[in-house]
């Protein structure tokens, strides 16, 4: 009985990990509007929201507010766009981008642990 219970729990746990981290979509999505800044909170290892949707050619303004004191979070890097910005703690730092090509552009901390997406449609 215990064997069945433990094995079943293990298999369910693996299924949950697969579903939660790969299949389930992030609910922290925000649509960018021309001329309006979106606030992105940097705290506890994540960006909130972690997905920003914007139209190709629009100016996207992201106002990063870093609350996390870990040095890992002190820079946000848009690697494909060759952009990066230092984020002082408890201050809003504006990153302004204009991307012409539709696609998904990741923004991360330098080590790639904090991850967010800029979805250009």
């Amino acid at each position: 009985m215990l064997e069945v219970f433990v094995n079943l729990a293990g298999i369910l746990l693996i299924a949950f990990i697969l579903w939660w981290f790969w299949l389930a979509n992030s609910s922290l999505k925000k649509q960018a509007k021309q001329g309006e800044a979106i606030e992105v909170i940097v705290d506890g290892g994540v960006y909130v929201p972690d997905t920003i949707v914007a139209k190709a050619g629009d100016e996207v303004m992201l106002s990063f507010l870093r609350k996390d004191s870990s040095p890992c979070s002190e820079t946000v890097v848009f690697a494909e766009l060759n952009q990066s910005k230092d984020l002082p703690i408890n201050e809003k730092t504006m990153v302004t981008l204009r991307v012409e090509e539709p696609g998904i552009y990741e923004f991360t901390c330098p080590m790639g642990m904090y991850r967010g997406k800029l979805k250009i449609e």
Binding site: G10, V46, S63, Q83, G112
Partner: protein, 744 residues
């Protein structure tokens, strides 16, 4: 209120679309009490506000007009703040580590060496251990609260990170131990193990690793700190005829600034009064101080050596050459070469995979392991979680790029991004532009050969007197040579330029001709006496020009674009790095061959138009070569863009540093082997880091899962695993730091 009593403040404005936005922002700023003037510059997205107004009120006014505003702060200010924040973080981590060790060490000693804590058997002992459990929990909250919060934040947003692994590992150890204490009666005796010491020791070691790593990381950004430190914090601005010290970020374009001996130059500008020698070595790597006088340019970050002078600010704030360099280095330090992207894509899925491996490990030990099964499954799963180190994977590339790009900047080599860094190390051919790259780019008189009855000075006076009226590029070299020798020129009459031949004029009523061989032959002047010498000069890549007076050859003046003193040495270094060197030039074959021979160039292409240079780059690429092109960044722009890596070479800060893959601040070819050697060293360092990170995880995780247990009975303790984890990322930071001592 007079102008002097007022304060000024600058804000950066975001969200402006057109010129009409300026008016609405200016109007909003004027509404703020205390503001006497506000002007917005659309181009640099900046508002300058004069008056005594609160910064917050100004920012709110801009926001209410529908735009975003931030206070402008100097790089040095931002750097100081960042350092203070890092120090505060270090202090916090230090105390977290100390508290965790204070609790962990006695628990560890009691569990392993000297059991001064009672066993867990009676109800009274249950209470003692419950107390230990609570102390452990409080320690975990104090020393690892951020880790649990981080894990939870990440979980909510469907991601997992380092915190997730530590939180689950230590959380499981604590929960299991508490379960044993509370449900002691129902737990089989063999499973009554407590893991408080493990949980707290893991936390102590993680904090120790984090502390050491943060300290070591601070050193990786030394290059940028050094660059920022070049700029003083204040400038001595002359306002209304009075000198006053003004914070650097408040200095405005067009203002006059006084610099005294020994002071650093605060912003870019042009000297209006006084002379001095200025040391630009920190910026360009050029060791010699440069003389500067009125109308000469000065750049922020250079050091005034001797004189006192006044200059007019032409570029301030983020527009100074130094600020652009700092920005470029910083952007490049944060960019990722292709080699690092594999590790990046793995680290994105790494943690969930480790979670799955931990579950599988637990199940395998539960189904096939020895008794007590519950204990083995718990210990191995925790060990797997805490040994896995996604940080090692994530750190390898950025740390090495950070140090490598910074180190190159110290040699006056600005690398634009990670890809340029990586490709530079793979180059097989470097193509050099000739004029201004291999040579100095400014023709000079190199030889004066006189005929009978005339001195060198007299010959030069005659030539310069005629050439002063000429517009030919070589004429300037002759006139300059006469000026340098402080010779007085003669009056001339009937000046005539003969296209493709030279010039003629009457000097002291004598017909004087100055030009090439054809000019002499057409005027029936014998050049036999000096012809051998002239031919020899031509074979060395120099241009001999003949001077004849009254039908007689008086002498020859040779002009050449001198080869830079260190060109040959730099090309030798490129050969040593296994790189072939080609030369592309618009100049004639004769001169090109002579220059190529003197500096040791392997292959040259002469008489090329700028478009043809591009075609030659393509030709080299079609041969399968990885081609680097070195040129001045303006005339050679198409070829630089076509090459796998374009190097722009320029004197000091004149070049447009954003235009090329790699910019050489020093006007010397030595920068090319410096850049290539830095690139190779950095890429090698990245490879070492990634190799170590992969091997560590590939070997560490199976051992932690107990793969060696059936063969040699080896099972890792979670404490050893967490120590290994903390040390693995520290090892990578330290290895990247080795690059700081690199010398090309």
């Amino acid at each position: 209120m007079t102008q002097k009593q007022q304060e000024s403040c600058q804000l950066t404005i975001e969200g402006m679309h057109c010129a009409s936005c300026i008016k609405s922002i200016e109007a909003a700023l004027h509404e703020v009490p205390g503001v006497t003037n506000a002007s917005v510059n659309f181009a640099d997205k900046r508002a300058i506000i004069i008056g005594r107004a609160e910064e917050k009120a100004l920012i709110n006014a801009v926001k209410s007009a529908g735009y975003q505003a931030e206070k402008v702060q100097s790089e040095a200010e931002a750097q100081d703040k960042q350092e203070a924040q890092e120090q505060a973080f270090l202090n916090k981590v230090f105390w977290k580590m100390i508290v965790a060790f204070i609790v962990a060490i006695p628990l560890f000693i009691s569990a392993t060496i000297y059991p001064f804590l009672p066993p867990l058997e009676t109800t009274a002992q249950q209470f003692v251990w419950l107390g230990v459990g609570i102390i452990s929990l409080l320690t975990m909250i104090y020393s690892a609260g951020n880790i649990y919060a981080g894990a939870w934040h990440a979980f909510k947003s469907h991601s997992a990170n380092m915190d997730t692994l530590i939180a689950i590992g230590t959380g499981a150890a604590w929960l299991y131990s508490m379960t044993v204490i509370v449900f002691l009666a129902v737990m089989p005796e063999s499973t009554r193990n407590l893991y408080f010491d493990t949980a707290i020791m893991i936390i102590a070691l993680i904090n120790l690793g984090s502390y050491l790593e943060t300290r070591a990381r601070g050193k990786t950004s030394q290059a940028i700190k050094r660059l920022i430190g070049l700029q003083p914090k204040t400038a001595r601005v002359i306002r209304d005829g009075e000198e006053q010290d003004v914070a650097l970020e408040q200095v405005q374009q067009g203002e006059l600034i006084r610099v005294r001996p020994g002071e650093k130059i605060p912003v870019d500008g042009e000297i209006t009064e006084g002379t001095s020698t200025i040391d630009e070595s920190m910026l360009t790597g050029e060791p010699l101080a440069v003389k500067k006088a009125i109308h000469d340019e000065v750049v922020a970050g250079s050091i005034n050596k001797t004189g006192s002078f006044i200059f007019r600010a032409t570029h301030v704030g983020k527009d100074t050459a130094l600020a652009r360099i700092v920005n470029m280095v910083r952007q490049a330090q944060n960019s990722k070469p292709a080699i690092g992207r594999l590790a990046d894509s793995i680290s994105a899925v790494f943690v969930p995979i480790v979670l799955i491996i931990a579950v599988i490990t637990a199940l395998v030990w539960f189904n096939f392991g020895p008794t007590p099964r519950l204990v083995f499954m718990l210990v191995t799963a925790i060990t797997v979680l805490v040994i896995a180190c996604p940080c090692a994977l994530g750190l390898g590339t950025p740390m090495a790029v950070m140090v490598g790009v910074g180190k190159a900047a110290e040699f006056g080599v600005l690398i634009r991004n990670g890809d340029a860094l990586q490709t530079a190390g793979k180059l097989s051919v470097v193509a050099l532009d000739k004029t201004g790259t291999v040579t100095e780019g400014q023709p000079k008189v190199t030889d004066i050969i006189t005929g009978e009855g005339i001195s060198e000075s007299d010959l030069l006076v005659l030539a310069a007197s005629i050439e002063v009226s000429s517009e030919h590029p070589l004429a300037a070299a002759i006139v300059e040579a006469a000026k340098e020798k402080q010779l007085l020129l003669e009056k001339i009459e009937a000046f005539q330029a003969i296209s493709g031949r030279g010039v003629s004029a009457q000097v002291n009523s004598k017909l004087t001709l100055f030009g090439n061989k054809e000019l002499m032959l057409e005027n029936n002047i014998s050049i036999d006496d000096l012809n051998v010498k002239a031919e020899k000069l031509a074979s060395l890549g120099k241009t001999p020009m003949y001077l004849a007076q009254n039908g007689q050859l008086a002498g020859i003046i040779a002009v050449a674009d001198p080869i830079k003193a260190d060109s040959a040495a730099a090309i030798k270094r490129l050969h040593k790095l296994g790189i072939k060197v080609a030369m592309l030039t618009g100049d004639n074959r004769h001169t090109a061959a002579a220059v190529a021979k003197q500096v040791g160039i392997d292959e040259f292409f002469a008489e090329l138009l700028p478009e043809a240079k591009l075609a030659k780059i393509e030709l080299l690429q079609q041969r399968g070569e990885k081609v680097g092109m070195v040129g001045d960044g303006i005339n050679d722009a198409p070829a630089l863009a076509k090459a796998d890596v374009g190097f722009a070479i320029g004197t000091g800060t004149d070049v447009a540093i954003e235009s090329a893959d790699i910019t050489l601040m020093r006007d010397s070819l030595e920068g090319v082997p410096d850049a290539i050697a830095s690139s190779r060293a950095t890429v090698k360092n990245i490879k070492q880091n990634l190799f170590f990170a992969f091997i560590y995880n590939i070997v560490g995780i199976p051992i932690a899962a107990g793969i060696l247990y059936p063969f040699i009975g080896l099972l890792l303790s979670p404490i050893i695993a967490s120590a290994a984890m903390a040390m693995s990322s520290l090892t990578i930071v330290l290895n990247a730091n080795r690059l700081r001592f690199f010398k090309p």
